[in-house]
């Protein structure tokens, strides 16, 4: 009942939004003077259930833009960053994209989440607009040669995890708990299980849950317990992981937990029970507590700008994304008076030629838009993330 209503509601609000967007077309009052500044658009969910990710991306990008502008901009031109909310909804995301075009956007840094990104990437392909998603990790999210990403793709995380387990936990049995209603989680799991088979990692049980039953994991944990697995692979986000760790502790389940970048944030989520996260391992390109200077500078600047908020991987991806755009734009030598399509052509060549040292690692890109960077294995020790030697 609720869902059906939502659709109608979405349809009506779509109609309203489209009217507004189209009304905006004629005026162009928001366009600004496009020859004196770069206009970079950003899209992500700043309201709705996944608002945490959109907010982090927006914050990270705005921080980078501020720094870039203070340091003289890109090729001597200031950058204007325009943000639109998409509520993690594909249709709203396309609307947001149209609104941003009316505002004179020349390049798109977005969208933050995979499903909307997959819809928008078709639009940017039509317009030949350069697109760089910080965190859209589904394979299809960067379809076309004009689109690139900063984060790892889901399959790459699954493959890297299986490789890591095969190497460091040879001979141990593995169980997996994943969210079958989420493309991120199921995407990683599928590749993980395929690669695990190839590498001879034995998966003794795979338990799924859906977003509608993501509170009680006792049955799944009981199954894991019965299977006698040594390692439990958790390609899920930290909210559910926190519940799983709490419930596993109650059941006295003693295993090694192993996850991907989605687990970043689990320590804060557990709050006063943070000790439960001790020994949890994760493969992730970014952790706020890492010791290197670049991460520490970024974390300090982010905390200062946003009320002591600890940056997540999404914030770091977006922060890097802006510097990647800067690096590619400087390599390509683009100027704001060029057409969107010309900018895109110059940028996509430049992307494959640059190497960017960001807070999420040192990255290079192939023409298909995938980044190459090393995943770091981290283990939670004494309440912080420590690199595994």
């Amino acid at each position: 009942m609720k869902k059906g209503f939502m659709k109608k509601f979405a349809a009506v609000s779509m109609a309203v939004m489209m009217t507004v967007a189209m009304a905006g077309c004629g005026g162009g009052e928001n366009g600004g003077d496009s020859s004196t500044e770069f206009v970079i658009g950003g899209i992500g969910p700043t309201t709705g259930a996944t608002a945490t990710y959109g907010e982090a991306v927006k914050n990270g990008a705005e921080l980078a833009v501020k720094e870039i502008n203070e340091a003289g901009g890109i090729n001597g031109y200031q950058v204007r960053f325009e943000w639109q909310d998409d509520e993690h909804d594909a249709e709203k995301s396309v609307n947001a994209y149209n609104t941003l075009k009316d505002k004179g956007m020349q390049m798109l840094m977005g969208t933050a989440t995979s499903t909307p990104c997959t819809a928008v990437v078709a639009k940017t392909a039509e317009d030949n607009m350069f697109q760089l998603t910080p965190s859209g990790s589904a394979v299809e999210s960067i379809k076309g040669d004009h689109a690139f990403r900063v984060c790892f793709s889901d399959p790459n995380q699954g493959i890297a995890s299986a490789d890591y387990l095969a190497e460091k936990f040879a001979g141990k049995t593995v169980a997996a708990i994943y969210n079958s209603s989420d493309v991120y989680s199921s995407g990683i799991y599928e590749k993980f299980s395929a690669q695990a088979q190839e590498k001879g990692v034995k998966i003794v049980t795979a338990q799924a849950f859906t977003k509608d039953s993501a509170q009680d994991f006792t049955v799944q944990l009981q199954k894991v317990k019965e299977s006698g697995a040594d390692v439990v692979f958790l390609p899920i986000y930290y909210q559910e992981a926190a519940l799983i760790l709490t419930q596993a502790d109650k059941m006295g389940l003693d295993v090694t937990w192993f996850g991907c970048d989605g687990l970043d944030g689990v320590i804060q989520q557990l709050g006063s029970d943070a000790s439960l996260a001790e020994g949890v391992m994760l493969l992730t390109p970014f952790v706020a507590d890492a010791e290197d200077e670049k991460t520490q500078t970024f974390t300090a600047a982010y905390k200062a700008a946003y009320n002591d908020l600890v940056p997540t991987q999404f914030a770091a991806d977006a922060y890097d994304a802006m510097y990647v755009i800067k690096a590619a734009a400087e390599k390509a030598g683009i100027t704001p008076d060029m057409s969107v399509s010309d900018i895109c052509e110059a940028m996509k060549t430049a992307m494959t030629e640059i190497e960017v040292e960001g807070v999420t690692g040192t990255m290079t890109w192939s023409a298909d838009g995938e980044p190459t960077k090393a995943p770091n294995a981290m283990v939670i020790k004494d309440g912080t993330y420590t690199a595994v030697a």
Binding site: K2, G48, A51, T52, S213, Q215, D216, T218, Q269, L270
Partner: protein, 293 residues
């Protein structure tokens, strides 16, 4: 042995559904409307209690009382502003309004408390877990939830049958027009129903968040829907039915996760609901008119 532990975890889950379902069934039984905002009142209650506890000015007991007071006021205000003007409108209009209130509460919470999930402290740590046998444990929160649900269920039944406002509620439930002619103040009675239903939501929020310590603006939505299903299962309008429906729902959900498929558990729950409703259209306890509140 394994079966027993699945059963117990099902009862734990079900007891939370049962507690929420009591609020649904109470409001439906008397006001004849589905208060879809019930789950979100629970979420607000959770945030109030969380804020009170984490400010460390108050003890958990005072925090719970704060939560109950705020939720009761919220329930009465929602009823006055959103539902009362629609007293004579079609049921569909009221239903849509309730969905609107649900989204309003979610989005207000999103603005005020932000989207990041909070870790709700378990305030029932003092209640020890019950170790039945080796590897078979019933958590303290579950024992308290079942106890609280039983107490509320009995209390509500007594209230409705043996007090004056309770009898008025029964009258409004049976025939609103006739009750008004007999001098029952329908508006006050319905307001009182919402006040009680929302106070129950506050109690449910504390137990829900203690059992599953993840609090965000969407915390109430899914348990709310499941509890609504539980209320229909047990016979909507029936107070003992809500309890039975809740527990059954939790048990079926967990057993189908364990023995059929962890992905299909929701589909199976709803399939069972369809079967039960096609055999007994009024739900398990829906037939006994005398139990209607």
């Amino acid at each position: 042995m394994n079966f027993l532990s699945y059963l117990i975890s099902g009862i734990s889950l079900g007891s939370v559904y049962a507690l929420i379902a009591l609020g649904y069934t109470m409001v439906y039984g008397i006001a004849k409307m589905l208060n879809f905002a019930h789950g979100d009142v629970i979420m607000i209650g959770g945030f109030v209690v969380f804020t009170a506890i984490s400010s460390s000015l108050t003890s958990p007991a005072v925090a719970i009382i704060c939560g109950i007071v705020v939720c009761t006021l919220l329930g009465v205000v929602i009823e006055k502003i959103a539902y009362k003007p629609l007293r004579n409108a079609t049921p569909l209009a009221v239903l849509i309004t309730a969905i609107g209130v649900s989204y309003l509460l979610q989005n207000v919470a999103l603005l005020v408390f932000g989207s990041a999930s909070k870790n709700f402290p378990n305030i029932f740590k003092w209640c020890p877990d019950w170790h039945v046998t080796e590897g078979l444990t019933v958590s303290g929160v579950t024992i308290i939830t079942i106890a609280v649900t039983m107490v509320i269920m009995i209390g509500l039944t007594l209230f409705i049958h043996f007090t004056k406002p309770g009898t008025a509620m029964q009258a409004v439930s049976e025939d609103r027009g006739a009750a008004q002619l007999m001098g029952v103040n329908v508006n006050t009675t319905i307001s009182l129903t919402f006040a009680i239903g929302s106070a129950l939501a506050a109690v449910a929020s504390v137990l829900l968040c203690s059992a599953y310590p993840l609090l965000n603006p969407y915390t109430g939505a899914m348990p709310g829907i499941k509890a609504f299903v539980a209320a229909v299962f047990g016979g909507i309008g029936s107070i003992p039915g809500a309890m039975i429906g809740g527990i059954l729902l939790g048990v079926i959900e967990n057993l189908s996760k364990a023995y059929i498929s962890s992905q299909l558990s929701d589909a199976i729950v709803f399939a069972v609901l369809i079967i039960i409703l096609s055999l007994k259209p009024t739900g398990i306890l829906g037939k006994k008119i005398s139990e209607k509140v």
